[in-house]
Symmetry: C2
Subunit: 353 residues, 2 copies
C-alpha cells in the first residue's frame, strides 16, 4: 500500500509498503481522510521529537521509518480475534494514543502521562496510508451525521476539550485564546460550549481572526497592532480574563497570555514552545496566577464526537484544501513550511489516487 | 511611641511617633514580638515594592513614611466602639491583610486578590512599634500554649498552609521544598501535616539543611554539589515528586523545581522572584506540569494557630536571635542584607527597651 514515511529531519518519502494485518484485539481501518497537524510539520522540520530513531519504542517496538499521520477517520475492513465492540463496515475515528495500562500513571487514570505512551503516526504507523492497524480501544464509532472529513477533527477537538477541562472553565468565565490556528479555533468553540461567557481571540492573521469571529469569538485583536492586555482590561472593567489559552507555541504568545489574564487567572499552555521564554515569574506571583500545561487528551474522544455531531464545534471552515496522498509532500508539508502556511488551517489528505 | 519607619530605599529610621488610638471597629494591640520577614528586607534594599510613596493607599489613605513589620503578636490594650469579639487583655496574633470586602475579588471570596488590599507594615503602620491599630477582623486570639514569640509565626505559617492548599497536597504525595529559609522550613512541616508521605528539601546552606531534617524532611540535598532532579529520580523509581515548592525566589530554584517534579507534577511558586527566568516551557508541556503562584493567605490564620498549638508546626528552632527595637537597624536589617544573613532564619524584635 501507499504511505508517507518519516526517515529523518526533512526526509519524508512516499513509498509502497506491505499492507498490514490485524493481530488479536486489533482492528484494520481503511483510511478515508487524515489531517496534517502542526506536530507532523514539527517532526519534519525539527525532528526527531517523538519518533524513536535509535532504540525501538518501548511499547510498540517500532522505530523510524514510521508512517506519519494521527488525525484520521476511516472504515473498518477487518477485525482481529477477540475484537468484540467493533465490526467490519463501521465508520470510525481512531484515537492514536496507546497507553501501556500498566505503569503508575496508567493505574492513576492519567494515560497521557504514561511513560511508554505510543502514538500512531509517531511511535507506530499512522494515517497517511491506505490502511492502519489500531487496538480495539482506540476505535470510536462516528454517528451518521459526522462525515469522514469531520471525523478527522475528533483528535484536535479532544485536545481543545482537554484544555478546557484542565482549565476548569466555569459558567460565566471570560476567556482568551492566543493564536488561532486549528487548535486555537477549536478552543474558541470548546470554551464557549463549556460555558464561557466571553471569548477574546488574539491572532495576527486577518483571515484567521475573521474565522474566529464566525466561530464564536466575542472580539478579536491583532497583537501586532494593539496591546491586547490593555484593550481587554478596558472591556472588562480592569478584571481581564479568567482563563487564557496559549495556542501559538511562541514566547510572545505566552507573555500576551500573562498580560490578558486577571488576578487569580489561569494560563493554559496548549502550544508547543520550541524555544525558552524569558518569563517574569514575579508578575505571576503578584497576581496569584497559574500556568497549566495541557498536552493531548485522555478520555475526551466521546465528548469530542458528541460536540461535533451536535455542531457545538464546527469544523468545515477549518478545512482549507483537500489533497491526495500522492501529493502530500509538495501540496501539504512543503506548503506548511513555506510562507504560504498562513493561508491554511487544516489540509486533509486522502489515500485514494 | 518608638517605631521603625520606612522612608525610602535603604532609608529606615527609628523615630518617636504619636501613640495611635483605635477608631470604631478597631483594636489597639501592645506589640510583644515582631519577626523580620524577607519582604521587609526586600522593601529596604529594593523598595518601594508595596509601600505607596506618591499616591495614598486606596484603602488606608496612607503613604510613606510607614512603620514596617507584619509578623507580630501582642496584647489587646484598648478596643474601639462596636468591637464585640475581642477584649482588653487578650493575647493575640494579628493578620496584617485588610481587604476592601467590596470588589469583585472580595465578593468572590478571594481576598488576597483584592485590588485595594492593604497590609499593616506596608500599606499602613505595622508591628515594629510599641502599639498597632488593626480592624477587629484581623485579630485572632492565641490559645494558652502558644507563646507571644510563637504567635509571630502565625503569619508565615498561614503562607505555608495556603501554599499546601493551592497545591492540593493529597495523602501520600511526594513533595520537594526548594529553599529552606523560614517559609521553606514551614512548608516542609505544613506539607507533612497535610498528608505528604515524603518531603525532599533542597538547600545550599548546611545549617538550614540540618534544620530541615530535624523538622521532618525525609532527605536533603545540596544543589551546589548534586543534581537534585537526578537523585530524586533514583529514590522514586523515576517518578520524581508530585509537588515542588519554590521557596527561594531565584531562577535556579525554579529550574530545580521543574527538574524534581514528575509527570503531571505541580510547581508552587512561593518565593518572590525579582529577576526574569529563562524558562523551557516545552518541558512543562511535555510532562503536563503546572506552575501555581501562591501569594500570601486568605482564611488560613485559624489553621495556622491550630497547627502551632498542636505542635504540628514547630517554630522555636527558627528563632535565631531576639533583639530590641532600638537595635533593629544594626542587629536586624543590616545583618540580613550582609554576608551573615545565612546564619539567620527569623530575628524577633521586641519594642521593650
Amino acid at each position: 500500500m501507499k504511505a508517507l514515511r518519516w526517515y529523518g529531519q526533512k526526509d519524508v518519502r512516499i513509498e509502497d509498503v506491505p499492507e498490514p494485518s490485524p493481530g488479536a484485539g486489533e482492528v484494520k481501518v481503511k483510511v478515508k481522510w487524515c489531517g496534517i497537524c502542526a506536530s507532523d510539520v514539527h517532526e519534519y522540520t525539527s525532528g526527531p521529537l517523538f519518533i524513536p530513531t535509535k532504540k525501538p519504542h518501548p511499547l510498540t517496538g517500532r522505530k523510524a521509518p514510521i508512517i506519519l499521520g494521527h488525525e484520521f477517520s476511516g472504515e473498518v475492513v477487518e477485525t482481529g480475534s477477540q475484537v468484540k465492540s467493533i465490526s467490519v463496515g463501521d465508520k470510525v475515528a481512531v484515537r492514536p494514543t496507546i497507553p501501556c495500562y500498566e505503569c503508575h500513571w496508567c493505574r492513576s487514570g492519567r494515560h497521557i502521562l504514561c511513560a511508554r505512551l505510543a502514538t500512531l503516526g509517531l511511535g507506530a504507523d499512522g494515517g497517511f496510508a491506505e490502511f492502519v492497524i489500531a487496538p480495539e480501544d482506540c476505535i470510536y464509532r462516528l454517528p451518521g451525521q459526522v462525515s469522514y472529513e469531520i471525523g478527522t477533527f475528533c483528535e484536535p477537538t479532544a485536545v481543545a476539550i482537554h484544555a478546557c477541562r484542565k482549565a476548569m472553565v466555569s459558567p460565566g468565565d471570560t476567556t482568551a485564546v492566543v493564536g488561532c490556528g486549528a487548535i486555537g479555533l477549536l478552543v474558541v468553540q470548546a470554551t464557549r460550549a463549556t460555558g464561557a461567557s466571553t471569548v477574546y481571540a488574539i491572532e495576527p492573521n486577518a483571515r484567521r481572526r475573521s474565522l474566529a469571529e464566525k466561530l464564536g469569538a466575542t472580539v478579536t485583536f491583532d497583537p501586532d497592532r494593539m496591546d491586547a492586555g490593555r484593550e481587554i482590561a478596558k472591556l472588562t472593567d480592569g478584571l481581564r480574563v479568567d482563563v487564557a489559552f496559549e495556542c501559538a507555541g511562541v514566547p510572545a504568545a505566552m507573555l500576551t497570555a500573562l498580560s490578558v489574564t486577571g488576578r487569580g487567572g489561569k494560563i493554559i499552555e496548549v502550544g508547543q514552545m520550541m524555544e525558552p521564554c524569558e518569563f517574569p515569574f514575579q508578575r505571576l506571583f503578584c497576581h496569584d496566577k497559574s500556568i497549566i500545561a495541557s498536552q493531548g487528551y485522555e478520555n475526551e474522544f466521546p465528548t469530542a464526537i458528541s460536540f461535533l455531531s451536535e455542531s457545538r464545534v464546527i469544523c468545515e471552515p477549518l478545512i482549507t484544501v483537500k489533497i491526495k496522498l500522492d501529493n502530500i509532500i509538495e501540496q501539504g508539508i512543503k506548503v506548511l513550511t513555506s510562507e504560504r502556511k498562513g493561508e491554511h488551517i487544516r489540509i486533509l489528505v486522502s489515500p485514494v489516487s
